[in-house]
């Protein structure tokens, strides 16, 4: 019976001969009617960087699922020609990425939506900060593209990331690194407004080991996927505020105003220590990326000297106090180095003088 319903090319002696067009037109009218009904809902269709957003009506299917994995995908029914792979759909306060070719049945088109569960943040080659919502799933059961598993496989922490196939995503280099860690949001809550840089927090960092720019390229649309492998956190990986917006980045962002790096200085009223006199205080002063004085953690002082045993050294807060009573080291010098987590070390040469 169903076969006779869908028999489009029916003999002219039986029907009028325009059923094919009629079905298509009536079908599209029908879907338009459905979209106006309570079956459909308002969603936003967004481009790759969310700069263009358009509210549309769509029927979202598969909202009620029986398995955990299926809850991470949806089907979206919209009029023909509405969307393409690689677009975002903002639905129920979440971003969803359209994956797979979007095609139609002459009545409507259906897109497969994959949940975006993390916003990737990185700095591109020209120093711009790029953000993309991404579908991040565990890929620990897959090979990372670097090592063959001829003998056995030791599983490690790998992620498979799907993002739009815009230029920034495709141009990501192997070894590009990302912070992907839910704890970042918790850390952010503990920052006060004055914090512009914080690289002290333990975060999980991944690097790109395999990038697939072709596998999901459909000519006029598509999305990109790449494999990430957990790697070590570098000292400058962390939280940076750029133009009032906080980002978790694996590189120090280039800002228009200097200085751009975390720096520290050794302040003292003299670079000379007088034998038998009071200690000279060397104070560690730390600056954030904006050049504002800030506090640092894990402050370390190092003294490079051939006569360390002749020096009396005390540590008080950010300071080191050095004195000596040994006349034999008069007119000799030593080097004092200040460092802290995330800061460029700085050194100063200090001379021992007699007080004359």
């Amino acid at each position: 019976m169903a076969q006779s319903w869908y028999l489009m090319k029916s003999p002219h002696d039986q029907v009028s001969g325009f059923e094919d067009e009629a079905l298509s037109e009536f079908g599209q009218e029908g879907i338009a009617e459905i979209l106006e009904s309570g079956l459909a809902m308002d969603v936003e269709l967004c481009n790759y960087n969310l700069s263009i957003r358009k509210q549309i009506r769509a029927v979202i299917e598969n909202t009620v699922q029986d398995t955990k994995l299926k809850t991470l995908t949806r089907h979206m029914i919209v009029p023909i020609g509405t969307c393409k792979a690689g677009m975002y759909v903002y639905y129920k306060n979440r971003y969803w990425l359209i994956v797979g070719i979007v095609d139609d049945n002459m009545v409507y088109e259906k897109a497969i939506l994959s949940i975006c569960n993390y916003r990737m943040e990185w700095i591109n080659e020209s120093g711009q900060i790029i953000t993309r919502w991404a579908n991040v799933v565990s890929a620990s059961q897959y090979n990372n593209g670097e090592t063959a598993n001829n003998n056995y496989t030791v599983r490690s922490d790998q992620l498979l990331v799907a993002m739009p196939d815009d230029d920034e995503s495709i141009l990501l280099n192997s070894n590009s690194r990302f912070i992907i860690d839910r704890r970042c949001k918790i850390y952010e809550r503990s920052f006060d407004e004055a914090v512009t840089v914080d690289t002290s927090k333990p975060v999980i960092v991944y690097r790109v080991t395999r990038s697939d720019s072709v596998l999901y390229d459909y000519g006029d649309s598509g999305h990109s996927e790449f494999m990430l492998y957990q790697t070590e956190k570098h000292y400058n990986d962390g939280y940076y505020v750029v133009d009032g917006q906080g980002y978790w980045l694996c590189d120090i962002p280039i800002q228009e105003h200097e200085p751009t790096a975390l720096t520290c200085e050794i302040h003292s009223d003299s670079d000379e220590i007088y034998a038998d006199l009071e200690p000279v205080e060397f104070i560690g002063v730390f600056f954030d990326a904006d050049g504002n004085e800030t506090a640092a953690e894990n402050i370390q002082w190092q003294i490079d000297s051939e006569f360390l045993e002749s020096l009396d050294v005390d540590y008080v807060d950010n300071s080191i106090l050095v004195s000596t009573t040994d006349d034999s080291i008069i007119n000799k010098s030593f080097t004092i180095t200040l460092s802290a987590n995330g800061y460029e070390p700085v050194s100063k040469q200090v001379f021992i003088r007699e007080f004359l």
């Binding site: 007088y274 034998a275 006199l277 007699e354």
Partner: protein, 162 residues
């Protein structure tokens, strides 16, 4: 390596300078009350402006202030015995000579400074120990008189100090 005989002269000056610097009364007399609030480097620099390890040349100073000039002489140099003499000029501008008073001390500013230096170099056991060259004897105190400045010349001796 044999220690150079002449090295003792510089070391001796350093001990004298350091001992005088550590006396808060001398600092106050020379630099005023503000010496107590100066940062260490300011204090050291100001002190060095007023305490010099060489002898005084009249008319080279015009500032209304108090100075200490000293020098060291080796009067005898033998293999095992050295005799040392210290000349110390305590010089004060006449305009401020009589405007300083301190409990426990007598006389004008130069007289008070003379007593303080004696306290420091002879009576302070800690200072005597830091010299490491034996006790100093104050042999004489003579007046110094010039057009703008008045002072006292103290001569110390350290016989057979090494």
């Amino acid at each position: 390596m044999r220690e150079k005989t002449t090295a003792e002269r510089g070391k001796f000056k350093k001990e004298i300078q350091t001992a005088l610097y550590k006396n808060d009364d001398i600092l106050e007399l020379i630099l005023g009350e503000e010496a107590k609030s100066m940062k260490p480097k300011e204090l050291r620099d100001a002190f060095k402006e007023h305490v010099k390890s060489h002898l005084f040349i009249d008319d080279t100073l015009t500032e209304t202030a108090t100075y200490i000039f000293y020098d060291v002489e080796f009067t005898e140099l033998h293999t095992n015995i050295k005799s040392c003499r210290v000349y110390m000029y305590l010089i004060c501008h006449r305009d401020i000579l009589e405007d300083y008073h301190k409990e426990g001390y007598y006389g004008d500013r130069v007289d008070i400074l003379t007593q303080m230096v004696e306290d420091t170099l002879i009576d302070d056991p800690d200072v005597v120990r830091t010299f490491g060259i034996g006790p100093l004897n104050l042999d004489s105190v003579k007046p110094y008189n010039s057009r703008r400045f008045y002072g006292a010349i103290l001569i110390f001796s350290v016989p057979n100090f090494r």
